[in-house]
């Protein structure tokens, strides 16, 4: 009488899946860009619009690309963490001011401090789109060869910095 036990078996398998699904974060979308070359771009600097920056300049170094904006609430949460990180001087952080007015961006940094090695302005969000940005803040770890090694969606915290980002940076730098 196998067929009568079948519903129970199917349900059992299903509940295992449901259990596994409990912890998952439905918001998070893994970036398909991880493991691929960081998209190239040329953008003006926020502070000196006359000058431009391109990822090529970071060739040979491990760096962080942090997408932020003055209008973004969670960016304020991660800001002190980034400040602390910049003081340790372990890895350069490039800030990308995403879909922001230059004045607002500058004012924010002036008030709260500037953790970035340099800040670029992506006023129309075109570069952000190329990087698959959909929720600011986002942080990319990019290796010496210009490959995106990791993408964090949401705020950088002391915890994910300690557990994920810094070990990864150290590992990449050692290569």
């Amino acid at each position: 009488m196998m067929r009568f036990i079948l519903p129970f078996v199917i349900f059992l398998i299903l509940s295992v899946f449901l259990y596994k699904g409990l912890g998952r974060d439905t918001r998070e979308v893994p970036s398909p860009l991880v493991g691929r070359a960081a998209p190239a771009f040329v953008l003006p600097l926020l502070h000196e619009p006359g000058k431009v920056f391109s990822p090529k300049e970071m060739q040979g170094r491990v760096w962080l690309l942090n997408v932020w904006a003055s209008w973004c609430g969670a960016c304020k949460d991660e800001h002190p963490v980034l400040m602390a990180l910049s003081q340790q001087n372990v890895v350069p952080i490039v800030g990308l001011d995403y879909k922001d007015k230059a004045i607002d961006g500058e004012m924010t940094l002036k008030k709260a401090g500037d953790p970035y090695s340099l800040v670029i302005a992506d006023a129309d969000g075109k570069v952000g789109f190329d990087y698959g940005v959909y929720g600011v803040p986002e942080t990319y770890v990019i290796d010496k060869a210009g490959i995106i090694a990791y993408k964090l969606i949401g705020a950088v915290t002391a915890q994910n910095l300690r557990e994920k980002i810094l070990p990864l940076v150290a590992e990449l730098q050692a290569k």
Partner: protein
């Protein structure tokens, strides 16, 4: 009074009105864009397509779709681009591939199984129940079945049914 009211109603039609312009420069393309946007999930919303979302991100994606369409990209190229940037989960309409084979085939496999199961059950029942309660009436009918051609039998039962109803 009545005339005043009528006048008031007529007034708007008399003023110098213009025919409103479509928001989109190209309504045909806009329609195509919206149809495509229905297949794209808004990543910052919960479960809304880009076509129905008020979020900034969706507005950006719609604009990018317009730009790409203007530049001559096909729908598939635009979807491919979005997948390249944001991953497969951006598609509401998952393409048929190795991972989604079970998804797309499940309904039809289930239907086949269900249909076959029902057919088998009905057939089995017919045998078992007939055995269990073979009445004289059934015996007569069985005899008829053996003697008569199916067509004749059908007509006969049909006639019986008519009189019963």
């Amino acid at each position: 009074m009545k005339y005043l009211l009528m006048l008031a109603l007529l007034l708007p039609t008399l003023s110098f009105a213009e025919v409103a312009k479509d928001i989109a420069d190209d309504p045909v393309m806009e329609r195509r864009m919206m149809l495509l946007a229905e297949k794209v999930r808004c990543l910052v919303c919960q479960s809304e397509p880009v076509s129905n979302s008020h979020s900034d991100w969706s507005k950006d994606v719609r604009q990018i779709m317009r730009d790409k369409m203007k530049a001559g990209a096909t729908d598939q190229e635009i979807l491919d681009l979005l997948v390249e940037r944001f991953g497969k989960s951006v598609l509401f309409d998952p393409p048929v591939d190795k991972e989604t084979m079970p998804l797309w085939s499940a309904p039809f496999i289930l239907l086949l199984l269900g249909g076959a199961g029902l057919y088998y059950q009905l057939k089995k029942r017919r045998g078992e129940v007939a055995e269990a309660e073979l009445s004289t009436q059934d015996e007569q009918r069985a005899a008829q079945l053996l003697n008569e051609s199916p067509a004749a039998l059908n007509e006969k039962t049909a006639a019986q049914k008519e009189t019963q109803a």
